[in-house]
Amino acid sequence: TAGASPKPTASSSTAAARADATLRLGLAAAPANLDFTSTGGAAIFQALLGNVYEGLLRLDQDGKVVPLLATGYTVSRDGLTYDFTLREGVKFSNGSPFDAAAVKFSLERVKTWKANTPGNLAALDHVEVVSPTEAKVVLTKPDATVPFWLAGPLGAMFSPDAVDSLATKAVGTGPFTVASYQTGVKLVLTRNDAYWGAKALVKQVDLDYFADASAAANAMRSGGVDALYQAEAYDQLASFKADPRFTVTAGSSQAVVVLSMNEANPALADVRVRQAISHAIDKKAVVAAATGGVATELHGPAVPTDPYFVRSDEPYPYDPAAAKQLLADAGVTGLNLTFTVPNRPYAQAISQVVQSDLAAVGITATLQTQEFPAVWVDKTLTQHQFDLTVVNHVEPRNVTNYGNPSYYWSYSNPAVGKDFAAAKAATDEDSYITHMTDAVQAIIKDAAGVWLYNPPNVVVATAAVHGMPTNDLGVGIGLAGVSVTG
């Protein structure tokens, strides 16, 4: 059963680990409720996936797809059927058995999901129950990304008799169960002692939500929490590092912070204008302002952990003169743009730097702060009422959005669409990567966005905490392998 227990990193000495310990973990964005099948936002599955819910597959800390509730699977030659063998003796926390029927129920239910991109599993046609421990997943067309998506929230297994009140009751097969959720404040997980695999190393996990990064940092310093995950108080990292009480790690994340340009605006439909804007922005300054310099500058829409990421030079280096030239070539003068800004600190900081940068090349950006998510999602994302906006796309492999012409930035390049389709249909990894890389290169050439940076997943922990997952894979924070000593 090695590899089955979701231990993220080589577990260091757990000799002094207390089995009755409570891990208090500070997080930023809080779940609105417990139902990620109908409520958007990463916070819910971040807390629940891998802890309460489990899928047939999971991602390991390096981002590789490995089995979890399945012991393994085979893909048919045509790429249309996946045969999963299931782990035996697994039970949901409500006592119901986990079997092929549950797989069929869970996966076929994805079509009805209202959130978290059920379209990524659009190729899934139906599931056949071969035997209680064997499930056959049938696709309508070949899709090489299916295992990846099955390793994420879309692949979570639900007990067929426990989906009536997902928003308040979470029933899964995972190493924890939800003890209580005080909305927006505190989510308490307790160890599932009936767990099929290696039991969690702490008795309880308190997920404390801090809307404000400074408050989270204060709690860390004053001993209110044991660890911070996705710590955003970037400017305090240095002082945390200098403090022997704490360990600070910066892992990878799937997030892309991007300045998007609405190509429905005729001026922005001109690739020269988009390139001019790309040249006008000093990414280094942006990274300094928004993250105190700790994030990785991006040159394209892929993050380093993506298989199709290509390390390259900045195609649009900071060059106001070039920007002005491009604008002149495009015949654009006195450009006035509405810049909608989510009311998040990183976006506020970026917007002001960008505004300042754009002003230097003669573009006026009018900032318009929008509550995130409510107003931003409504006005910018849905109604496309913006010229510029900046947002952190946290979903993994979100680059495929550039293949969707009706996405909020209205970017459309048929060649890119074709590349994505080909990549999806690819039956082997290499051809998937080739097609994806082609698409990414085309998107970069079109300057479809100004990709600013990939924020690190900063984890601050006290010395007593061991085994914190450091990389954010855009799925759940697996906490079963975390221990607290002393």
Binding site: A30, A32, N33, D35, S38, T39, G40, G41, W113, K114, A115, N116, T117, P118, G119, S165, A167, T168, Q182, T183, G184, V185, K186, D208, F210, A211, D212, A215, N218, A219, R221, S222, G223, G224, N343, E371, F372, P373, A374, V375, V377, D378, K379, L381, T382
Partner: protein, 315 residues
């Protein structure tokens, strides 16, 4: 006396009803589609429309109001858009937290105001009295959230004496409750205490000019005795009237303090529900705050009657 209370209760009910209409109308015009906000990025228009129907957002405003009023009456306060659960218990929880915080703030304020107000009044015109008066004046001018930040920095982050924030309900441990209460109560109470102190001082100065204080001294009391036996009690009468408004101020001040200290009270709830565009929750919170303010005013009016015999019915 009973009739008096009943009459006052009637006025309270009427005012509350009018206030409920105001709350409803005020928030019925909230932009941002709650259904959309709830469903996130991926919902189709059909799904959104279905949810709107399910939430009753496609009904006429009066119909929505009547429906809402019914929910208010039953205490469920409606089903939250974002948590899908009745708002009632959550709001009630938050209200308990806020009330405890306000109460603690009031206690701190009173502990500060009584001695300083008294001393500033007694020592009026002298150096120490003037210094005290100046100190309270400065105290009023400091935003409570700034006071909170400073308190956190010093006592939580630097000295580790107290937690920097968070909340422990009294049932989960009185010690933890108190430890978590101290700093926010201080932040809240310091400023209010300064305000109250100034009221007390000026009420005492007013009272000292009253004829009956001269009478008291003519009976053979020293200045201090007269102040203690007659002055303080009379000065408290006007202070009681402002206490109602002050409590309302505390309640609203708590909103900001709750943010600083990450306390799950009405303020945090309000900010969160506003951010989520959770109309039902916003309405519920605002209504509860307004009801609390009205109830506090009611309470103060009744206390006022107890304190001041002139307001009881003459025979």
């Amino acid at each position: 006396m009973l009739l008096t209370v009943l009459r006052r209760l009637g006025v309270f009910a009427l005012t509350a009803l009018v206030a409920s209409v105001v709350v409803f109308v005020l928030l019925a015009v909230l932009p941002g589609d709650p259904a959309r906000a709830q469903l996130g990025l991926d919902a189709t228009p059909d799904q959104v429309a279905a949810l709107r129907h399910q939430l009753g957002l496609d009904r006429s405003l009066p119909a929505q109001y009547v429906h809402w009023l019914g929910q208010l009456a039953t205490g469920s306060l409606g089903i939250s858009y974002s948590t899908r659960a009745p708002v009632g218990p959550e709001v009630l929880n938050a209200m308990q937290v806020s009330l405890l915080l306000v109460l603690a703030g009031m206690v701190v304020a009173a502990l500060i105001a009584l001695p300083t107000g008294l001393l500033a009044a007694v020592r009026q015109g002298r150096a120490d009295g003037a210094a005290l008066s100046a100190a309270t004046q400065v105290g009023i001018s400091v935003p409570s959230f700034l006071a909170g930040l400073l308190l956190v920095t010093v006592f939580a982050v630097r000295l580790h004496w107290l937690p920097s924030g968070g909340w422990v309900a009294p049932v989960d441990g009185v010690g933890g409750f108190l430890r978590h209460l101290v700093l926010p109560a201080l932040a809240l109470g310091l400023v209010r205490g300064a305000i109250l102190s100034r009221y007390l001082r000026s009420a005492l100065l007013d009272v000292q000019r009253e004829d009956f204080m001269r009478t008291a001294r003519a009976k053979g009391m020293t200045r201090w005795q007269a102040l203690r036996r007659h002055g303080l009690r009379n000065a408290l009468v006007p202070v009681v009237t402002v206490t109602g408004v002050e409590l309302a101020g505390l309640l609203v001040g708590a909103v900001v303090i709750e943010t600083v200290f990450v306390i799950p009270g009405l303020g945090s709830l309000l900010l969160r529900s506003v951010a989520n565009r959770d109309l039902v929750e916003v309405q519920a919170v605002v209504m509860v705050v307004v009801l609390l303010v009205l109830a506090l005013n009611l309470l103060v009016d009744l206390v006022y009657v107890l304190v001041d015999p002139r307001l009881r019915r003459a025979r």
